[in-house]
Symmetry: C3
């Protein structure tokens, strides 16, 4: 595995999921597997859960992890070819990435979208150019349009619930838009959609207000629904997430407060598990009562970030 940017890099999803759950039982099974291998964790944007869970995953495999937080303002990279760099960018990706390739065995990169130009963000040039110019395997810690380690942890969490046996039928999974106070990336929603669809183990519905359509390249195969109550009827899992509009790009449209789920609203579901990638704004995106209820899977999802990262790193190391 030379890159891990999207579900297309994942190979057999079920194998990754099984490996993750195996590591959850036996965290240190391959402690010798990454010995003397070095993981670079480059954060062009801040991170809490992603950084810690990936550091732990690396440590469980015996790898050395070196973190470097480089905010985009402090160390502004240039991505255009043949430009005269007399402005605000201080280093070209063609010079920076090969050096990182000298220092690390695997490079992990986080870089959020700017939400100013869909074309820029959806080209994913930052992560692609790190892969092209570093010469080593590159792992996404969330890029402009996707968050694959989160999505793998989400699938792992559903698989865990399914293995516990309370859901006897083919599960129904709903991804629903939720309100927020500021425009957010589409990454988590895009990524969750493409992973659930590729996983093929669930019926999949995406619910959002009209006008909040995700880019079709991520949602092909899903049922789109504008009525949230109808969408969540009989649901086994509901993934709650805000995203900004794709067209026009990156906007916070109407508030739509009635799209916030509460315990009462779950009555039409099959006692659905409630999922969210965190951080979550209580009583804006999701009611506090629901987050405090037994239906909430959010802490478990965050915990499973360790095992999903460990599963991917192990595959990159050839373990």
């Amino acid at each position: 595995m030379k890159t891990f940017f999207s579900v297309n890099d994942a190979g057999d999803i079920q194998t990754l999921v099984d490996t993750a759950l195996m590591y959850k039982q036996h965290p240190l099974l391959h402690k010798a597997g990454g010995k003397d291998k070095r993981l670079g964790l480059l954060f062009l944007n801040p991170s809490l859960r992603t950084r810690i869970s990936t550091q732990i995953a690396a440590a469980n495999l015996g790898m050395d992890a070196i973190v470097f937080n480089v905010d985009k303002d402090g160390w502004r990279l240039e991505f255009e070819d043949d430009v005269v760099m007399n402005g605000t960018t201080v280093e070209h990706i063609k010079d920076a990435a090969p050096v990182l390739g000298q220092y690390f065995d695997i490079l992990a990169v986080r870089s959020f979208p700017g939400l100013l130009s869909k074309q820029d963000d959806y080209s994913e040039q930052i992560i692609h150019q790190f892969a092209k110019h570093s010469g080593i395997p590159v792992l996404s810690l969330e890029s402009a349009t996707r968050h694959p380690l989160q999505s793998l942890a989400d699938i792992v969490t559903m698989e865990e619930v399914l293995r516990a046996g309370t859901v006897k039928h083919r599960p129904k999974v709903v991804l629903t838009w939720a309100p927020h106070v500021k425009p957010l990336p589409q990454c988590v929603a895009n990524s969750f959609a493409e992973w659930v669809i590729a996983w093929q183990h669930a019926d999949f519905v995406i619910a959002h207000p009209e006008g909040m359509e995700l880019d079709p390249k991520f949602t092909k195969g899903a049922t789109i629904e504008y009525n949230q109550d109808k969408a969540i009827a009989d649901a086994d899992f509901i993934y709650v997430k805000n995203w900004s509009s794709v067209e026009p790009y990156g906007k916070l449209l109407e508030a739509k407060h009635d799209w916030m789920l509460t315990p009462e609203r779950l009555s039409v579901t099959r006692n659905a598990g409630i999922m969210h990638c965190l951080p979550v704004r209580r009583n804006v995106e999701l009611s506090g009562a629901l987050l405090d209820s037994a239906n909430s899977l959010v802490t478990r999802q965050a915990g499973n970030r360790v095992w999903s990262a460990q599963s991917v790193l192990a595959k990159m190391l050839g373990l």
Copy 2:
């Protein structure tokens, strides 16, 4: 030991002190004791000595330590129940803390007081809520009203001097207020007072200008003195520290430059050891000449931070 927030969590102080001094002689005695255990160090406020000494203590016990600096502005946590989070807080402690509980075996937290509301600060809600919601042992790296690892290191330092045998009598310990240029927390003073009182191995006097009284819950059992010369007479140890007023809360009152100790002022003492937690403003809080003199114990105190943290971590690990 599930929490280490105050002297009340310390159990037998002398045992902690003896263990610290034992680790000073044999730093790596329990190198295997914390193997595959993970310590999270969460800094909601900056740290230098505390971070490094705790990292070293963890390493000496074989623990993995992961540091995350999260300034309060960058990742503003919500602590109120049932609030609609449409403002500046981005994550609720009820969602954040359980995730950290998934990632770590022990969580260490630093969070300074706001110095705006005594009620808010003295409720210690931040550290208490981390303990309540994380589900794992929580260690204070300085909270709104106390700095227990510092106080333990301070006791360790005095014990070390006493064991060297130059003080043959029951020692006299004085905590004295000192001038400063900005209002500081009461943490170090509160904590030192409650630890020395609980330690019971010294006569204890607190000296400060009228109006600079500490909260009585920390000082019960100490002699309060408004005349600094009288207070330090025959002292064996003098702990120098500024704090802001408790009533009105968090204010920098008069300068009181004559409260700054100098070598000449020590003539009334029993060649007292001079203590300070650092950083210290020379010639404001304490004369440079005194800091450069043989009476100064400040570097030794800072060094002993390692052994006090190691003693507490070992107790939390059940070593």
Copy 3:
């Protein structure tokens, strides 16, 4: 080796170079050599390559490395004696450094020049006072006037090329000034000059516009040339670097765009290897085409930072 600030601390340069190239072949040969030794990496200014390469070097020797980034504004140190610290400095070097000496076996410090006063910067008081007051070996990660780990890596890179055998004669090395958009320190240029001169294995020419003379204490023994084409004639290695004027101090003088090297300009050289310490502004300091060409040694130089740091750390550890 108690300090590593300049070529004068290096001892026999060729031994350091040979050791670096030996570690490049056998990175983990002395993995046990630094066991239970602790390296503190104190950054008063930001760092990417220097930090990572030094962390890797320490890990290769089995050392524990602890990084602390302390920007000068956040933790402003006082260096003057006997000052009343009622201003913006919060801690005196005489109090801070001894504490670091308690925590670490070796201390590495980065501190850039202010470029406001030549006398202040060229006194190198920051790094010297850390050495004086910490009581442990101190290593420069770039100080006000020098960047010795970079220069050692530069010599290592040239040695590597020479060992490959394509250059059969005594090599000609040229350090040439290049244009930039803002005033930069003289460190890399000063340091490269003194190292090449002390190395004694090359003819050495320094080219720059009139008025951009480096301080003579670094350049004694080099040929100074104001005509860049004449300087680079028959060159085997060309080190490209901007620096600000020394007299008047720290100024960005005329643009001198014609001093930017391009592939065409290399025709007068002996197919010279092009060197730069990175980061480089493409098409300002150096043409992108040259950086993308086979003549560029810049990635290799950055990679060799690991082995040069490892060689110096090993010498400090007495390995």
